[in-house]
Symmetry: none
Subunit: 263 residues, 2 copies
Amino acid sequence: MSSSLPETLTMLQFGSVTNLMSLAIATLGAAAIYLFTAPRVGPRQRPAMMVSGLVCAIATYHYFRISNSWEHAYALDIPGGLYRVTGIPFNGFYRYADWIITVPLLMIELIAVLTLPAAKSKPLFFKLAISAFLMIGLGYPGEVSTSSAVIWTFFVLSMLPFLYILYVLFVELGASLDQQPEGARGLIKTARIFTLVLWSFYPIAYVVGKSSLGNASAEVFLQAGYTVADIGAKAGFGLLIYFIARVHSAAELENRAGTITAH
Amino acid sequence: MSSSLPETLTMLQFGSVTNLMSLAIATLGAAAIYLFTAPRVGPRQRPAMMVSGLVCAIATYHYFRISNSWEHAYALDIPGGLYRVTGIPFNGFYRYADWIITVPLLMIELIAVLTLPAAKSKPLFFKLAISAFLMIGLGYPGEVSTSSAVIWTFFVLSMLPFLYILYVLFVELGASLDQQPEGARGLIKTARIFTLVLWSFYPIAYVVGKSSLGNASAEVFLQAGYTVADIGAKAGFGLLIYFIARVHSAAELENRAGTITAH
């Protein structure tokens, strides 16, 4: 447990993290409702939408936990006008519990929405979900440690599956792109760039946060970085999946209409 | 963080704000459920209803946060019979976090329900959502400041996008009104007046509240004004959107029936 929390935070530092966590609850919760119920999605695209909604719903739950834990970890020193650690540890496990469920699901929703033939989608599911699971699992020992040997060893170990995921998305998945409906190709490319950029927030936040343990600005950067990245990688990514689902649904409806007319 | 809160509030003053905040939770929460599930809405009008429901759901969440923060900012001095600041700041960010998400969505729900051709709706979406975002973003620095230069500079800056929104709604949107089903025209005009009147509550509450910082009545006026305006601008406006959606849905059903009969 993060015994490495900075002793004091200014009101602005503490409040910025609290506020971003609340923003995460509001946006992820709204995204979950939207993704579960969004219209004009065909039956073959519905599972991807359900998974996207679940990812946001699970994250909403965890942000309630994370934000409660954050508020218990500090107490306002009223005459001093700053926040001081209470000694109750901030529970970093909530983030990893969230990620170890939702990050493999994010990969699953991306592959599911492409409605590839099973022979293509199964190995992709397998590779991406397992790597995502490993990436998070290997990150956790570093996150909760205060020993820099542990922090950096597990950082490197966790980066390996991350790089493998990028390889699968940009190289292996690229080969399936030409079988996608035209309107979907650009969106899928955007989803990959989204993954690359937003997922890079996490190691960057980790490096900054862990490079100066106990430093107030570094801790705020770490918490803010993780939170902003979670909003983008889950709610923003979910919207992208929705746009892809819409293109696929429309294309299938047209194909079916075409088949009926042709007969 | 409002370090400008009045030192003491009477029980009536504190209670009035608390009670209005609770009323907001009840009405916005109920409106969210109603808008999500309201009957006799066609598939093309459903997205506008979803967005209206989301706006109310997001606001419901924020009113829980706002009301908790309000209750922590004061404590009852029992022998004195009045409420005294605790020193825990009242978190004004929750209102702005809410508005920066929901106010652009309010504009989006209005344009979405009109089901205009994409060439007309896209520029409207864009102009209104961006201006709404700017209006809220520019209001925040003034809201949390105690310097009157900052308070009034950002007030003026925030009023500019507000006036632009009114221009778009009353002038540019007016040009599309004659293509609306007859029953919808009056409702759309009402929705515009609603926006003008209810949205004017916010700057009025701001001016009154910020003109005498630390004054109890002014603070109560500010909090009560924001809260009443939020109920009207979200739940009330959502109902109006529903009425417009019903008219559009009925008109589309008739057109479709007409097409079938004509063949």
